[in-house]
Amino acid sequence: MTDVLDPPVVLSGDGHSEHREEHHGPTGILKWLTTTDHKIIGLSYTVTSVIMLVIGGLFAEIIRAQLATPNGSLVSLAQYNELFTMHGSVMIYLFAGPFAFGGLANIIVPIQIGAPDMAFPRLNALSYWLYLMGAITMLMGFFTAGGAANFGWVAYAPLSNSINTPGAGADLWIGGLLLTGFSAIFTGVNLTATIFYLRAPGMTMFRMPIFTWNMLVTAILILLAFPVLTAGLIMLYCDRHFGTHIFSVAGGGVPVLWQHIFWFWGHPEVYILALPFFGMATEIIAVFSRKPVFGYKSMVFATLSIGALSLGVWAHHMFTTGVVLLPFFSIMSLLIAVPTGIKIFNWIGTMWRGEIWFSTAMLMALGFLFTFLIGGLTGVYLASPPLDFFTHDTYFVVAHFHSIVMALVLAGMGGLYYWGPKITGYMLNERLGKIQFWFLFIGTQVFTLPQYLLGLDGMPRRVAVYLHDPQWKTLNDWSTFGAVLVGISTIIFVVNVAVSWKKYPAGDNPWDAQTLEWFTTSPPPHHNFYRLPQIRSERPTWDYNHPEHRSLAHGGGTDEPPPLAAVLTAALEHGQDEDG
């Protein structure tokens, strides 16, 4: 089988990438406004979400500047509450999710599975416009008389009711979040349908690249979690304006109910954010080690287990409420460390005995792995209720989830350097990219690590001043310095985009990559492919380019897999082939 070069299947034209089929449609701004092409929608998503990253980052820099002195007076107490609320909201609702599942996944997933577009192109366009309107709606809060929402990105009742937080800023926050929530749900529907129904012939489930697998699990989690948030937001709005008293004690309601609803969305949301970036890192590490993903099947299994467990751990955010069953949520949360650990070992296994090429994308992915390890290990502490009791709502928690989200930012930047050439047809400057990496990576550690110590020394979250403990200034200054380094890295990225603009043509497959998107042109044509290779594994492009270097079966040297694995693999692939 490995000696025969499988001829590609010609879909249109004469099968050569030089022969470009012209797609006649509007150009310029009209193209952007009317398009249903997943690549252009995805690019709009990517650009919008990176702008959100910059806005959220600016809020973060102001927050860090305020905390550089114990009695900072850069902003007032009221403005500070608005800033950290909108920092969290912008980063989580408007950057991380939309960047991953609206941006890169939207562009890459259809191409990775050999589809011409998403399953519902018009719904895809609706998703983007809902997202953009939601983002603008939420940020409009700053222009209202009372200012933007100021109850934290979690909007705990009863602080978020109309008595404690009157004003239009909070309502715009709810409205903006409803719009982006619907946009996420529609994207979830679209990704699920696309992955189940539009795979190219031969692309069985167990030949899908890990990024696509992760996006499938992400999409399913979106479908399970986001409707709950939407319902909760409608309840909150009704409480604020129609006197429903769902979350108010005075009317017989239960404030903690909001936390259950919010975190029933909020913890799956953590993995909705993280899984796409795990997928990006997986692809990058495999390509730049010139090896297949190590433990492909255990990787899929780990992703599925993370998705399943994530639905049963929401109350670990509520250990200190005193009204949840501690042991159940503790063991469920601790167990998530197992599939996450499998992923980390698989990533190292992928690099093991590889030929590692330290491109910018690879550096970002490695930076992700290291930072995620720190965030993951500190997360294990927080799964233990007694340890959560004393770190809850302190900077320890802030440091923990910033290790995680900064790891995701690193992976996302890796994704941009890795897939950018495919999307635009042009490479980014590698030298500037590496400088950006070092600022981002070192800045991340310098800004998160002191926060762990501050948290253990008792500094609470969401405080604008620390009058009682001015000795916290030193560690806070380090943290602020780290945040400045991260800010500089973002500027370097923007400069890099400007400097590299249409300068270094990429070619179809600049990285000698493995998955299907690298088989087509850069950028891909209107419906993505002129021709498709035979799909025999999760690496059709690699198999086509290196027919003599296909993945080795279980056990390595021989063609004979170990008995148990052989039976399982044969059974799975037999079933898959019949489906396909």
């Binding site: 404690n164 690099m351 294990v380």
Partner: protein
């Protein structure tokens, strides 16, 4: 054993929490260290040296089984240790001293039921809760308005003060001294300034303090000096001009 950054604790349960912290930290250092060593070895040893294509091995079943089973065992070990500490911490034994702690925007009120003593203070006035050492003190924690967080660093413990919920826990301080506490759950404008103190004294000192402060004259004097509020639970706002939105 190193502290790994945590406080050794000033109460009985905070000491066991501290030991749990140390246990978790040793696990984290060992496992994290192992991963970092593997990681560094991989990136240093397997750098690209040419245009070679390495062996395309993808599976190693024994290794995969190993790094699935060992973490599961570690997790159950951590869970067992967690249960032991947690069960002690939430046991809530019967006690002789009770303090009703009420949190409000933006201050604390400590009432000693049946004694006529209560201490109240707002923001940086930091009211002081006096409790006896080596005695189980029962705390009834409530909130008047929004959610607040009762947190004392040296107690290695925090608990939400929830409106409509009576949260109960026990503190047994093992040393005397004054410990600083602060609201940890965002509660609005003056969240950053919602301070209190816990003063741990000997039992005779505590009894004497209770007797003197329940004295009507002393209470009146205290009222004059600490700007005590009436019991309506609605404090007047500090005289600051920050916008209230």
């Amino acid at each position: 054993m190193p502290s790994f950054g945590a406080h050794a604790g000033a109460t009985v349960s905070s000491k066991s929490v501290y030991h749990l912290w140390q246990g978790f930290s040793i696990g984290a250092v060992v496992i994290g260290g192992f991963v970092v060593v593997l990681f560094c070895y991989a990136i240093l040893r397997f750098r690209r040296k040419g245009d070679n294509i390495p062996r395309q091995s993808q599976y190693h079943l024994p290794a995969e089984v190993l790094y699935t089973v060992i973490p599961i065992l570690v997790v159950f070990g951590l869970f067992a240790a967690t249960l032991v500490v947690e069960n002690k911490e939430v046991a809530n034994p019967k006690t002789n001293v009770t303090v009703d702690v009420n949190a409000f925007q933006w201050g604390w009120k400590f009432t000693y039921p049946g004694t006529g003593t209560s201490v109240i203070g707002q923001t940086t006035q930091a009211p002081t809760m006096v409790i006896p050492v080596n005695t189980n003190v029962h705390i009834n924690l409530t909130s008047t308005d929004v959610i607040h967080g009762f947190y004392v660093k040296e107690f290695n413990f925090s608990r939400y003060a929830l409106p409509g919920v009576l949260n109960q826990f026990t503190i047994e301080a093992v040393k005397t001294g004054t410990f600083f506490g602060q609201c940890t759950q965002l509660c609005g404008l003056y969240h950053s300034l919602m301070f209190f103190n816990v003063k741990v004294v000997t039992m005779p000192q505590f009894t004497a303090w209770l007797a003197s402060s329940s004295n009507p004259a002393a209470a009146a004097a205290a009222k004059a000096t600490t700007n005590q509020q009436t019991d309506t639970g609605v404090p007047t706002k500090p005289a600051s001009s920050h916008g209230d939105n």
